[in-house]
Amino acid sequence: MAIERWVAVTGGLLLLVAIGIRAWRSSQGRRRWGRLALGAEAGAAIALGIALLLAIRGAGGWQPADLRQAAWGMALATVGVHLGLGWWTGSHSGGLVVGLVALALTLLGIFSFPGSDSPSACPELASPAYMEWALFFVGAGGAAVAGSGGLASAFRERMQRRGSSFSLPRRRDLHTLTAQAAVLSLVALGAGLTVAAWWGWQTAGRPMSGDPREGWMAMALLIVAMSRLAWQLERQAGRWAAGLAMAAAAVALLGLLAVPGLSWLPAP
């Protein structure tokens, strides 16, 4: 097994530790141990960053279409956005779901094969293209965190209806996480699309390069914008915002990882 996979496995194990601590903490109703979970999450972020760098070095360059690099990049962005927003807002709620999402992405990268990248994964990436894709990954990570916040809100409501004895995160903390991650995603995806438009204009005279993943990112941006607008609804604003954040996360993940070449009526 290549060394980057071992490093990613370490990151996955650290995420598992963070998830375990948070789950145990919720079941026991104890609010301590939070720092240990945060430390494990930060360690996982460092391990994923190293694994990503090694994978990039092994491939001879950053290939956004390479499933392994994309999956680890998304996992790193998700954990990084969660840690950053937690530091900024003072609340690390939703960490259990964020950890599970990041773990799933890490495993996807570990079990993808070197040959699983797109056949067209041989791009001429210039500096603006690197910037564009870095912003897309941050934006997709923000959408994943917002979606995780939404999922945690839905889970919380369900547990509360059942009269669960679990120590659940506060609704307002989850709402804050969902809303702030959505704005971060909106800004990062918007900036990525702006760079794509500028670079497309400089190189091809069009406002976009024609890469279908840019279209998927634009769709994710529209849904994130809807999630942000949902806070202005008079009724059930939180539910709408959470649901739309989950939809945006699904579109962003699908667009970056699964459907770059999807075409219902393929050209001959």
Partner: protein, 466 residues
Amino acid sequence: MTDHSLPSGKFRFDPLSALWRIAASPQTLMVLLALVGLALALGITVPQIPAGEAQNPQAWLAAQPGAAGPFGGLIDALRLHDLFHAFWFHLLLVLVGLALFVWTVDAAELAWLATRRRSWAAGDLALWGRAAPQASLSTDITAAEAQTRLEAFLTENRYRWVALPNASPGNLVAGRRGLFLWAWPLALGAVLAALLGLAIVANWGWQNGDWLPADGDELAVGHGQPLTVRLDRYGPSQESGDLDQQRSQITWLPDGGTPLQDVAVLGHPARFEGVALRQMGHVPIVQMSVRDASGRSLALQAGGDEPGTAGAVEVAFASAEDTPLVFLADRDLFLALDFEPHCRGGGPALRVDLLGGGGQDRQTLGTLQESGTVTGGGLQVDVDLAYRPILRVDHRPAVGLVVAGMALAVAALTVGWLASPRLVRLVLASSGDVTRVQILVPSPLRGNRWLWGLVAQLQEALADGD
């Protein structure tokens, strides 16, 4: 927007006000954004007519697999193969533009009211909408004492606050960093400008097809422009021999004007009076000759050329994705050329494959990054590799508006988010021994992180000294 001058009981329908209210509601904008997102999804999954096929789209449509399927009629009716030029898509963008205009005006009104010197009027409170208070506090001190403490807290924390005139006592509007409220209308206005730019791009301007010139070739720009462009030389810059840094030295030749020399490189087009010449990339031009094991030169036939004679043949790639074939008549074999512009940290490469058995048997003879020889299958293939630029001439002035609008929108959104301007209305009401403080946030500021911090601080201020 209530007209107090009307006698009670009479209702006059105002279509403009109704239209404004519909466009200003978040539901409308959300539905419109959802429809644009759906259109984008269709635009990605259903192949769009390529620019090169625009002259004869029916032939291209007929060649699409699934075109005659059960959804073929629906796809044609909705023009899903040319979605971004369909009437309904343009109508959708117009409606989005209308809604964005209304949102921009409303957001600017809120920012204006929050930053002007004059006090708030009772009519301005409509901006808070009809939603329930976002937070509520209770205290057992009197309303007068609560108001004194709230005012002291707001002053200490550098809030700009006013007591509402003509309202019940204990009705305050407080704001902080109000200037940054202008970020939201600025962002919306910039998106509107970008949308306008997109509409102009779709209807104004032109772009020629790819031009693959040899040194010295000239192209009349066309489209009524009295202008010709000539490629003087294509080659590496003095600083670098890297193929990505290859540049096209050109001369603009205006009719009756002074010729002007310029340079185009990837990402840095040459411009002349609004016309841009872009270097999109490069394609190989291959001079090829083939010898058998005995050293005899074989006859070659490339593309639609006449049956070849022994010697060298020139193979020109029509695009970087092209895979031209060279026929070896003596052997009933083909040579397939495949160009990889730039791959995995290496330079551009040309792969030479030998095809036999009707294309079933494929043997890679070798990959070249510069002129050289590959061997295999009893053949020796000599390749002289050179490059030509892919150039494209266009005039699309509004793309700059699209990019500038997007950049301004992102910058304004970022500033507004980081600065986190605050605006709240505090309403005090007494009931028995309990004083209740309701906290209302205007709709554009809902879902922000500062509210719960403010609530905690207000709770503390009201509890102090108890």
